[in-house]
């Protein structure tokens, strides 16, 4: 069915794509956390309304979205061609390109580069990819301190916590919780720090200013890489990205191999799609583009596979690699809104995470994620590159079933039902047997998994006659 079985996936034991417990267990625990739910509902409600306004302003949004999908599909169909073009351009302009088959190799390459620069401390621009590969832990193990400079990422780092959202890694925390983390863990912070967002932002400015001005090595991700020109881009808001990309002498940029755009002109599409889908603004405050070694800097570009080629190998799943990490699908997802990002056990949470993480790791390593959705379709509706996430979830459920990840009883029941339904003669007695349920009442002691239904809802009382019995007895001529 898919080629993903013969292309290596992201290896276990390094990085953050697999949770310790299955999604239903994590989710059941998270959903009882009232503070978490109120933090998430508040934030996602706000951003949803803003995004709707930002998108409805653009008359040709649907056309941009189609072009965005088509450009990314072109990249995925010709990934080797475009990667080689990118490598040629970056190299011609003084940069060095490194290829990492997986997280472990990427970490090894980066550690060597940091070691060669003689740095004991590096500043980091927020990057999902470096979270994916567990770079900070790898650096720490080698005695290198990694300073996260994005405000939310800093909150998460100081709180010894995990990111739970692409754009706002600390979306699960409210201002008071953030203030408490700063008071507890930020060196030199005002012990009377208030919880106003402006004061919290100011505290991070003060804390990080010296780090920026003295850092020797910066590590960044990339939102886009233009194959035609070798140009890399970081889209951000605070200016921490600009600081890291501009001031240190050595810049190491780590990106997944799917982050490419074929042509410079393609930016005209993505610089419209991304900001409005992400921070829900006409344009984000800052975007930096750089091509090769810039203004005397040393540039290293690390290209990461880590399960992306395995994803590419499944024609029904590869569109997940179109993703530009805008987080619009997280913000509209009713499941994400109730449980937050941690329940997904991967740095890629929410609807896109539910299709991406299992493909990067192989479905057998993440079998519950494709089921972490009601298939309501809100994610597909807002996706700026038109990833049909619901259809892909159903496809990955098929892969989970094929891998034998689902309970045997379910397999037997589903196949038996399908057999019964393929004939009215077989089906009618089973349906009529529901009538027995008339004796049970609305909250009968059902065996699992059916007991899950009566945990929060009553059962309907089965009718005395099925519709077809009624029709046959009264209406059929």
């Amino acid at each position: 069915m898919s080629g993903a079985d013969w292309v290596p996936v992201a290896p276990p034991g390094v990085g953050h794509l697999r949770g310790a417990r299955p999604f239903p267990q994590e989710a059941a625990a998270a959903v009882t956390d009232r503070t978490l739910r109120s933090n998430l509902t508040g934030a996602t409600t706000r951003i949803r309304a803003k995004r709707d306004a930002a998108v409805s302003e653009v008359a040709d949004w649907e056309q941009l979205r189609e072009a965005g999908a088509a450009i990314k599909d072109d990249v995925l169909a010709h990934l080797d061609t475009y990667l080689l073009r990118l490598e040629e351009q970056v190299t011609a302009r003084g940069g060095t390109v490194h290829w990492a088959a997986d997280a472990a190799e990427a970490n090894r390459i980066i550690l060597e580069l940091v070691g060669a620069a003689g740095a004991g401390e590096v500043v980091k621009v927020k990057s999902m990819t470096t979270q994916e590969i567990g770079l900070n832990e790898a650096l720490a193990a080698a005695g290198v301190a990694a300073i996260e400079t994005d405000l939310a990422e800093l909150i998460v780092q100081l709180g010894d916590d995990w990111p739970s959202h692409f754009l706002v890694p600390a979306i699960h925390c409210n201002r008071t919780e953030i203030r408490d983390i700063f008071r507890r863990a930020m060196p030199g912070v005002d012990p009377e720090l208030p919880d106003e967002p402006a004061a919290l932002a100011e505290a991070s400015r003060r804390y990080l200013r010296d780090k920026f001005l003295s850092a020797e090595v910066a590590i960044s991700g990339a939102n886009f890489a233009v194959a035609e020109t070798g140009t890399l881009a970081v889209v951000e808001s605070e200016g921490n990205g600009r600081m890291c990309l501009t001031l240190p002498r050595t810049l190491v940029t780590v990106m997944g191999i799917e982050k490419l755009l074929p042509r410079w002109a393609d930016l005209e599409v993505f610089m419209q799609l991304l900001p409005r889908s992400s921070t829900a603004e006409r344009m984000n405050p800052y975007t930096s583009f750089w091509t090769g070694a810039t203004e005397g800097q040393e540039l290293h570009l690390v290209l990461l596979d880590n399960g992306r080629t395995a994803t590419l190998a499944d024609p029904a799943g590869r569109a997940a690699l179109r993703c530009i990490r805008c987080s619009a699908c997280l913000n509209v997802c009713p499941v994400y809104e109730r449980v937050g990002g941690h329940a997904y056990g991967s740095v890629y949470p929410g609807p896109i995470g539910a299709v991406l993480s299992p493909q990067l790791t192989g479905v057998a390593a993440n079998p519950t994620l494709p089921f972490a959705s009601t298939l309501c379709g809100a994610c597909y509706e807002v996706c700026p590159v038109a990833i049909d996430i619901p259809t892909m979830l159903v496809h990955l459920r098929e892969r989970a079933v094929a891998a034998g990840s689902e309970p045997a009883a379910e397999r037997v029941a589903m196949r038996a039902m399908a057999w019964l339904m393929a004939s009215r003669r077989r089906w009618a007695p089973s349906l009529a047997a529901l009538r027995a349920g008339r004796l049970l009442g609305r909250r009968p002691p059902l065996p699992p998994p059916l007991s899950a239904w009566t945990s929060s809802r009553d059962l309907p009382r089965p009718p005395a006659r099925t519709f077809m019995q009624w029709w046959d007895e009264e209406e059929r001529r």
Binding site: T91, W99, L267
Partner: protein, 211 residues
């Protein structure tokens, strides 16, 4: 080059066999959006939406407008990149040059930076620097806390596609839409983090009667 280049390329070719591919670069583009010269009213309004300061002036009034913008922030020591139109400089300004390049700490001690830009986008209120003449290297518009940027009207285009088309990909670019900001606390936007906390845009009308 280091690492698993050949292995990764081989995996890609196995995952997506070259024989089964559509033609390279086949993309339909039916989007259009605003094209051509940008409307200055719209540009100014959209810059202001980001809580940046905006002042509009005639071509002859740039120096006095800049003086007012700097004065309002008490900015006395101002770094000015090579290539900026000397007619835009207020007469009594203490201009600091960047040749030889200032250290990061020296830049941090200055009050403001004064530049122009390469192109600007009316639809999104965005200023784009390509760090060419009159714009300085990237650190110049990053480290000082006040950035005053003079945008001559003819540099304003209607939408993003026109801006991208005007830019030279071999140069570094910085796209600026308002002062530095964050939405990281409860997805609520607050201005003023690491980049310049004050952005003042001086929109210089083209000569001739206003439409």
């Amino acid at each position: 080059m280091t690492g698993s280049r050949d292995a990764v390329l081989a995996r890609i070719r196995a995952a997506s066999p070259p024989s089964a591919r559509p033609p390279l670069g086949r993309v339909e583009r039916s989007y259009r959006g605003p094209v051509g010269a940008g409307d200055l009213d719209r540009f100014a309004a959209r810059v202001a939406d980001y809580r940046a300061a905006v002042t509009r002036c005639g071509a002859a009034e740039v120096a006095s407008t800049v003086a007012e913008a700097l004065g309002r922030r008490g900015a006395n020591r101002v770094v000015v990149p090579a290539g900026l139109d000397p007619a835009w400089l207020p007469a009594d300004l203490e201009v600091v040059g960047d040749d030889p390049p200032l250290s990061t700490l020296q830049l941090d001690a200055l009050d403001a930076t004064l530049t122009t830009c390469a192109v600007a986008v009316a639809e999104t209120g965005t200023i784009i620097l390509d760090h060419g003449p009159g714009q300085g290297r990237r650190a110049l518009t990053l480290v000082p806390d006040v950035h005053v940027v003079v945008v001559p009207g003819h540099l304003v285009v209607a939408g993003v596609p026109d801006a991208v088309a005007r830019l030279d990909p071999t140069r570094p670019h910085t796209w600026i839409s308002g002062p530095s900001a964050t939405s990281d606390i409860e997805l609520d936007r607050v201005e003023g983090v690491h980049g310049p906390r004050t952005l003042h845009v001086v929109v210089c009308e083209p000569p001739g009667p206003r439409p």
